[in-house]
């Protein structure tokens, strides 16, 4: 009986010992786990990734250490000896348990020892024999763990070292401003839950722009999508009926353009295609066809009637480039581009509209003039004023940023500014008029004479062209600077 009691007590002691060891091991592993977690959280946060994943070592290391101890088998003899040492039992329990589990003959002294140890074991409480002892680094580990969890709980990008794309951020803010004005304008005419939803989404996007590690380009894309969604919603238009009509007209035009393309393809395959002919007839007569599409169809039909399929194909090929929506993408610079419109400008915020690159008028101080802004019914007065103040604040710096001066690789020393040529004579014309020598040839005119001609020509051009006053001063200053009489 004593032996059974002793063995049972030894098992309890061993179980408690294992538990204490497991908790101690977990506590011991907490400090390195927390340190590693903190390192990973910082790394992930600074790189703009979700930081909570870095907390994994905080749980895995202590759990692994505890599991390793728990997987150890119960060691009765060791636990009994340890209990002896902790309770000052002078190796009674350990020796007795060891004797009990061994195959040694039971001497009289051993039997008395077992009885003595069993009586001692009845008084032993496992918790008293194995008090939980935490490792010294536990407090540090806890502090590190709290720090890691706190850092992981910060909003994403709070600690990001990647600075937002400045241009994209500026474009996104500008886009947000325009969208806000647009929503404000719409809200004057309409109050709907969808509008409120748009406002909420816009506010969320604006808030995200204030985050230090924000991906401004992504926010800009989302704003662009929001803008498109807003403008493509007929129920949110200021005049729903007109918006629906406009949408229907646009759909009809797109359909007409597609049919025009199909007719061209059919004619290319079979110049005597009846299908193409009937399609062109329908397009020429259809009321929903635009004037351009109708005209192209009529011209192509006329050529077919004259037996000239090639002329019809040419007319169709020419007309395909004029279809709305279905043709090439309207590029910025092809006319006055209202703020917030034009996919090209929104999708490429860093790419500024280049004057002279399009086929229309240069957007050099003209695309956003007060005149154009005021003509747009959907723009509010405040927005126009603000926009004007932004765009006309410092033209010199803006122009230099957009068009850094460069020198063309021409056989002359003429400095040329890229852009659309004005109406007056250019420097090249002036050079031809003066009989510009080739490289290495002797000069044909005196410097004084050439200077006067160039100056007069330049001043005439300045007076004639629409050049900002600051630029005029630059031209005058230049010629005064090189005046040989001074």
């Amino acid at each position: 009986m004593d032996e059974m009691e002793l063995l049972e007590k030894a098992r309890q002691l061993a179980a408690r010992d294992r538990q204490v060891r497991a908790l101690g091991a977990a506590g011991g592993a907490l400090c390195p786990g927390a340190a590693l977690a903190l390192f990973l959280v910082l790394l992930l946060s600074l790189s703009g990734q979700p930081a909570w994943q870095g907390l994994a070592p905080l749980a895995l290391l202590p759990a692994g250490a505890a599991l390793k101890e728990f997987l150890q088998p119960l060691r009765l003899v060791r636990a009994a000896y340890q209990a002896d040492r902790n309770l000052g039992l002078q190796e009674r329990l350990g020796t007795a348990v060891e004797w009990l589990l061994s195959e040694r003959p039971r001497s009289l002294m051993a039997q008395v020892l077992l009885q003595d140890a069993a009586s001692q074991a009845r008084l032993v409480r496992p918790r008293a024999a194995f008090p939980q002892r935490w490792p010294g680094g536990l407090r540090t580990g806890l502090l590190l763990a709290v720090l890691a969890i706190t850092l992981a709980g910060l909003p994403p990008g709070r600690l990001s070292w990647q600075r937002p794309d400045a241009e994209a951020l500026t474009a996104a803010r500008r886009q947000a401003q325009e969208l806000r004005h647009l929503l404000h304008d719409r809200s004057l005419h309409l109050q709907s839950a969808r509008l409120l939803e748009f406002q909420a989404r816009l506010e969320a996007l604006e808030r995200s722009l204030e985050s230090p590690g924000v991906d401004a380009r992504e926010v800009l894309e989302r704003m662009t999508a929001l803008s498109e969604e807003l403008q493509g919603s007929p129920e949110l238009a200021s005049d729903p009926g007109a918006a629906q009509d406009a949408a229907a007209d646009r759909q009809g035009q797109i359909r007409s353009a597609r049919q025009l393309r199909e007719a061209a393809r059919a004619l290319a395959e079979d110049p005597a295609s009846e299908g193409a002919r009937s399609l062109l007839e329908r397009l020429a007569d259809a009321p929903e066809s635009s004037e351009e599409v109708g005209g192209v169809a009529a011209r192509a039909l006329e050529s077919l009637r004259k037996g000239d399929p090639e002329g019809a194909a040419r007319a169709l090929a020419q007309g395909q480039g004029e279809g709305p929506g279905e043709g090439r993408e309207a590029s910025a610079g092809e006319g006055p581009t209202p703020p917030g419109e034009g996919r090209q400008a929104l999708a490429n915020p860093g790419q500024q509209v280049q004057p002279g690159q399009g086929t229309g008028e240069a957007d050099f101080g003209r695309g956003t003039t007060l005149e154009h802004q005021e003509s747009a019914e959907t723009r509010s007065r405040d927005f126009v004023l603000e926009r004007q103040s932004q765009r006309t604040a410092d033209w010199t710096e803006e122009y230099r940023r957009l068009h850094p001066p460069r020198r063309d690789h021409l056989p002359s020393a003429d400095a040329r500014v890229p852009g659309r040529l004005g109406e007056g004579p250019t420097l090249r014309d002036s050079g031809q008029a003066l009989g510009r020598p080739r490289v290495g040839d002797p000069a044909r005119v005196q410097p004084q004479e050439g200077f006067h001609q160039a100056r007069e020509s330049a001043e005439a051009a300045v007076a004639r062209e629409e050049i900002p006053s600051t630029r005029r001063d630059l031209v005058r200053d230049y010629f005064e600077g090189i005046d040989p009489r001074l």
Binding site: Q90, E91, L113
Partner: protein, 334 residues
């Protein structure tokens, strides 16, 4: 005849040991540790080497012990001209009344239960070695005849650590045969007062015999039955191994100042003495503290210091202290 229950025997052991201790401490004032260790060695049937300055009561202690034990006692004063036969005895030729001559063995002083070898280091090595067989085997061989010594047979040798001129230091083999080497220290002031008061008057304390040879042998048998667990045996083994400078577990001072460590006989001495100490404490098992308590007297004479150790004047006890500090009681491999 059936033996009494074990618990009664253990109680009798404790009582007898306690009475012996009381008798000795009545005469030997202020040397309680010394008395305790002498009694431990007595029960463990181990020989004791007492080292101390003259006049500290070494001889008194052994003589008092002999009186308290009711054992045969003999004293041998070792001198340089002492011969081995003076210790072990000799064979004499005797003539009978009929005129016949016969050989008769005249036993030497070694044939006693308790032998006091006073100033053992003053005899020549030849004479010292005469004690070797007696101490280890409990017998002497004279003229080709092996003679058993009475049991219990205990040698209490004394030696003076000073006045080394004209002495013969005990060889290591002989020193190793002593269970304990006890150092007799100078008494504390209050003990000295007691000694002066007690030994200078007419009334000398009378010692009563409280134990005979049979009781002493029974006590020894009982002590050897005390259970020693593997943790205790392992601890003793690790301690002994750590005294060897070439062992990895040896601490740095041992490596530096010790030339040879303890023999396995040192480990045996540890366990034997620890068993007796456990029994004296009323336990049925040996504890780690028993080992620690008897470590110094068991091992101090078994450590052979290196030249550097001797030059530094480092005492073996200091190294054993270091050993206790550095060798963990629990087995690291368990």
């Amino acid at each position: 005849m059936s033996q009494p229950p074990l618990t009664d025997r253990v109680r009798h052991f404790e009582e007898t040991f306690g009475r012996l201790r009381r008798e000795l401490t009545r005469v030997v004032v202020g040397q309680s540790d010394l008395v305790e260790h002498v009694l431990l060695a007595l029960v463990a049937e181990g020989h004791v080497l007492l080292e101390g300055l003259p006049g500290l009561g070494k001889t008194l202690l052994v003589r008092t012990l002999a009186q308290a034990l009711d054992l045969s006692f003999s004293r041998i004063q070792f001198t340089p001209d002492l011969m081995p036969a003076d210790i072990s005895g000799t064979t004499l030729v005797e003539e009978t009344p009929e005129g016949r001559r016969t050989f008769r063995f005249s036993p030497g002083p070694v044939f006693a239960n308790l032998v006091l070898a006073d100033e053992i280091n003053r005899a020549t090595p030849k004479t010292q070695s005469a004690l070797l067989e007696a101490m280890q085997e409990g017998s002497v061989t004279i003229a080709g005849e092996r003679r058993e010594l009475p049991r219990p047979f205990l040698v209490m040798a004394t030696q003076n650590p000073i006045e080394m001129e004209g002495t013969y230091p005990l060889p290591e083999a002989q020193v190793d045969r002593f269970l304990f080497k006890l150092q007799v220290g100078f008494p504390e002031p209050e003990d000295l007062v007691g000694i002066l008061d007690q030994t200078t008057g007419n009334q000398v304390p009378r010692v009563e015999a409280v134990c005979d040879a049979g009781t002493l042998l029974e006590m020894g048998r009982l002590a050897r039955e005390v259970v020693a667990g593997s943790a205790v045996l392992g601890y003793a083994a690790r301690l002994v191994l750590a005294t060897h400078p070439d062992r990895p577990e040896a601490p740095e001072p041992i490596r530096r100042y010790i030339r040879y460590g303890s023999s396995p006989r040192g480990g045996q001495a540890l366990i034997r003495a620890a068993r007796v100490r456990a029994m004296v404490s009323g336990r049925y098992n040996v504890a780690l503290e028993d080992i620690q308590a008897v470590l110094r007297p068991c091992l101090r004479h078994r450590l052979i210091r290196s030249f550097e150790g001797e030059a530094e004047g480092l005492e073996p006890d200091q190294l054993l202290e270091e050993l206790l500090r550095t060798v963990p009681p629990e087995d690291p491999a368990r």
